[in-house]
Subunit: 235 residues, 2 copies
């Protein structure tokens, strides 16, 4: 089980077929949304501020919290012509949530994550997804095993400071894009599976003193934007 | 005055000409970096864990904290052929820090921010910049006044869900790019100054149910990536 907090996420949950088991809310919120809550008859619980505070993982609890069952996450089938994210040792919950939200925005066909990545059910991940976890969630796998099994015609890319220029490199905008932990870089053992490393060019005025890196979520945003542009060009 | 915490940021500060007034650190850190600290002779203070904890704004303090004077931030001169960010009511410190880091990476020529945006000296902003505040910082202004004064030949763009497709729209990759608060959108009163609104296309599998928005920092990352690609194409 896990908790999802706040009106925006809970309203999205209620409108989806996600397995919500209980809703805890302040009386005014329940009255304002009684029509929507009909289908949860008996599962909606009035709580007061103190009780909400005890349930919540937030410093400043919002009006409503949903308790959900963790659905089974199927391992995505890696087939040609689609685009998948592989999250390599993403430990920061805010980054993980943002990556899930980006994958949702860009219509990524599946996310796989290394076993040492943060769980998507972590409360900070849930909040950072802004509800995108309802539509797309990572499956946790042994990365080397998974990469060794895929069809060799499917290209594997990695965001890497030592790679080819993202904007001038020729590549097919499909396959698997590996996003690594900013502090530790690409996990040793993955290199042999990578067809091309891609680098986001740095434009700092003083090229020797600019920002040293981007965090994993920013790097993914920029990479996925360029993949999206190339996919649009092919439509 | 403001505080900057952690070895990475403090080492960058020490190597720069930023006005550092004091360094507070645990003895092992001082011994490990004694060579670098020579130029701060008399300004380096040994503290113990308890004292560090009292100075720090972090839940888990790192080994070292620098205290700095706030330098005067000049209003950037908005001239043709350059690229500026205008941050419209950016309240979240993590977003603000990430935006400063992105501006540093992409060599943006200046940042201006609305007066209701979070101060760049906020400890959470400082940490999220990862040191980029040393090279680029927002100047806080009345946005309407500032926009009404610029050369009318300088294009003004805004990231907006109702705009033209970022990837297929024709535009010059220079001028001013307005990034607004994700929850509130573009501040009323700015519209009259905007030459073109640009939208990051959404690719969700179910186009009616995908992520509703991206946060300000993600939107800026994707926009600045495309501006960078077009600037590269012109080089």
């Amino acid at each position: 089980m896990f908790l999802a907090e706040g009106a925006k996420i809970v309203l999205e949950l209620i409108g989806s077929d996600f397995p919500v088991t209980d809703v805890f809310a302040l009386p005014p919120w329940i009255h304002a949304h009684s029509g929507l809550l009909n289908k949860f008859n008996g599962l909606v619980h009035e709580v007061n501020d103190r009780e909400l505070d005890q349930i919540s993982s937030l410093t400043t609890p919002q009006d409503v919290i949903a308790c959900c069952r963790i659905p089974e996450t199927k391992l995505p089938e890696i087939i040609p012509g689609k685009l998948f994210l592989l999250l390599d040792s993403i430990r920061d919950p805010g980054n993980m949530g943002t990556l899930i939200r980006l994958a949702d925005w860009f219509g990524i066909d599946g996310i796989i994550a290394s076993e040492d990545s943060v769980e998507w059910t972590n409360p900070k991940v849930i909040q950072a997804t802004m509800g995108s976890f309802i539509r797309i969630r990572p499956a946790y796998v042994n990365m080397e095993t998974r990469l060794s099994e895929i069809n060799p015609e499917i290209p594997v890319y990695a965001a890497d400071l030592g790679g080819e220029n993202l904007y001038s490199s020729g590549f097919r905008p499909e396959g698997i894009l590996i996003i690594s932990n900013e502090a530790h870089g690409l996990t040793t053992g993955l290199s042999e599976f990578i067809n091309k490393k891609l680098r986001i060019p740095r434009f700092s005025a003083q090229s020797d003193t600019g920002a040293e890196s981007l965090n994993a979520a920013m790097a993914a945003a920029i990479m996925l934007g360029e993949f999206a542009r190339r996919r649009l060009g092919k439509l």
